[in-house]
């Protein structure tokens, strides 16, 4: 366990946090990349998922997208995108991560809208609501918990994969780890472990924060039922 202690000692050195390229800089890079990737993922995934769910078809599309991205190595996308006309820099990294943010957002939006009770929808139509009104006043409010759950999965996923940005010089907290590997275990071991600890803490923090958000936006009566459904959605999505 001495490596673990070395890692903590490394983390305890304020200079390792405030140096240029230190933990704080890398954390900021990490969060900026994550923010933009999730935003792009939302812009693409949510409208598509909501539209497919509202129309009630296209489930095959959702499953296919989820399966394809699972087979595609993050590393491949991270290395290929900069070599396309997109060019180097933050943009290819953000786009690569956004690709992995889309499936959870898409699948959850689709499932959320599909799981609105058919009788509720019939009642709304019987009251004279048009398709757009049904979507805005009935389906969307009822599927907010699902949308939040999708957002949480996407954020955690992107925070985790943003660590890999370092492999293509994209910055982020992973840089601490890869720089440590560059030094070799004997000199960089403490730094590797410290970077690992920082990344794990950030991922768990993101999970906790967005689990809280999910809970906040879920109306109280739905909470217990939801948890069971979420477990099922996680295994299929």
């Amino acid at each position: 366990m001495s490596y673990f202690r070395d890692g903590l000692v490394w983390l305890n050195d304020p200079l390792n946090w405030t140096n240029p390229g230190g933990l704080l800089d890398r954390l900021q890079e990490h969060l900026v990349i994550t923010f933009w990737a999730v935003l792009v993922g939302c812009v693409v995934g949510l409208p598509l998922g909501i539209w497919l769910g509202h129309r009630g078809r296209g489930g095959g599309v959702v499953v296919t997208v989820a399966n394809l991205t699972r087979a595609l190595p993050t590393l491949a996308l991270l290395t290929i995108l900069p070599l396309t006309p997109i060019g180097f820099g933050k943009l290819p990294v953000i786009l690569a991560l956004a690709v992995f943010a889309v499936p959870p957002l898409l699948a959850n939006a689709y499932t959320g809208l599909r799981s609105v009770d058919a009788e509720t929808k019939e009642a709304a139509i019987g009251m004279g609501l048009s398709g757009g009104q049904l979507l805005r006043r009935v389906e969307l409010p009822l599927s907010v918990p699902y949308l939040a759950s999708g957002l949480r999965t996407a954020v955690v996923q992107v925070v985790a994969t943003a660590t890999l940005a370092t492999l293509v010089n994209g910055g982020g907290l992973g840089t601490i780890i890869s720089a440590g590997f560059g030094l070799g275990i004997s000199r960089g071991g403490a730094q590797i472990v410290a970077g690992g600890i920082a990344v794990v803490l950030l991922a768990l923090l993101a999970e906790a924060v967005f689990a809280g958000v999910e809970r906040l936006v879920t109306p109280r009566p739905l909470r217990t039922v939801r948890r069971r459904r979420a477990a099922r959605a996680a295994t299929t999505g």
Partner: protein, 239 residues
């Protein structure tokens, strides 16, 4: 300790990394010249994937059965697996590497097994809990004990869930192996990273990627076939 010890992207010296004719996305010449390397990497990739899935399966099924038999354990096992699954792969490698050696195949193997384990436990447990109470009653009425019922009734009925878990675990393991490239144990990931650091050699990157995705699809199809062979009753019902 310096953060900058890892060299920044090597500047293209000879050929620019643009879309010039000297750096095509695919090249038979490259594949032919490097057939040995490619086959070695592919073999490593397949080997470590199969090893991961088999080990994970051997650990996951007993764990799922344990969680199934002892209800109070279900929550903690699922929660723990969920938390472990949020740990980024690179961080897991970073925490394991100093303990097990930085260029060690076992380091990658253990990280992969951990991730595959979580998917498998979850799906096996889902499969087991979906066995209907009537079936269990009938099995008990026929005189099956706890183990007999598990082996002859519950596990076969949970097979579709287990196979789904196997497919998920296999496909994500194939993709995850590439991360091992950071310590030179990434199989096809070594080709991808190698191409990137080697003047952004597109042919090498794309060859690695295509083989990786292809391998995932082939193994997935093989498991679908295995699932059908193992559960002939579900096939008969649908046809």
């Amino acid at each position: 300790m310096s953060f900058l010890s890892r060299a920044p992207a090597p500047l293209p010296l000879a050929a620019p990394a643009g879309d010039g004719p000297g750096n095509p996305w695919f090249s038979w010449q490259y594949v032919q010249d490097n057939a040995d390397t490619i086959m070695t990497k592919l073999g490593f990739h397949i080997g470590i994937t199969l090893e991961t899935v088999v080990i994970a399966l051997l650990v996951a099924v007993p764990l799922a059965v344990l969680a199934y038999w002892i209800r109070p354990l279900t929550g903690p096992i699922l929660a723990l697996s969920g938390v472990l699954y949020t740990i980024p792969s690179l961080a897991l490698l970073a925490l394991l590497a100093p303990l097990l050696g930085a260029t060690n195949r076992v380091t990658v193997l253990i990280a992969l097994v951990l991730y595959a384990l979580l998917l498998l436990v979850r799906n096996a447990l889902t499969g087991l809990t979906q066995v209907s109470a009537d079936v269990k009653d009938a099995a008990a009425g026929m005189g099956y004990g706890r183990f007999g019922r598990l082996w002859h009734v519950e596990l076969p009925l949970a097979l579709p869930g287990i196979v789904t878990g196997l497919r998920l675990a296999t496909v994500s393991t194939v993709a995850l192996v590439t991360i091992g490239a950071i310590i030179g144990q990434g199989g096809l990931g070594d080709l991808i990273m190698g191409g990137f650091w080697n003047n952004f050699y597109k042919a090498e990157i794309l060859t690695g990627t295509v083989l990786c995705v292809g391998l995932a699809l082939v193994l997935d199809l093989a498991l679908v076939g295995l699932g059908r062979v193992l559960t002939p009753w579900s096939r008969r019902r649908t046809s």
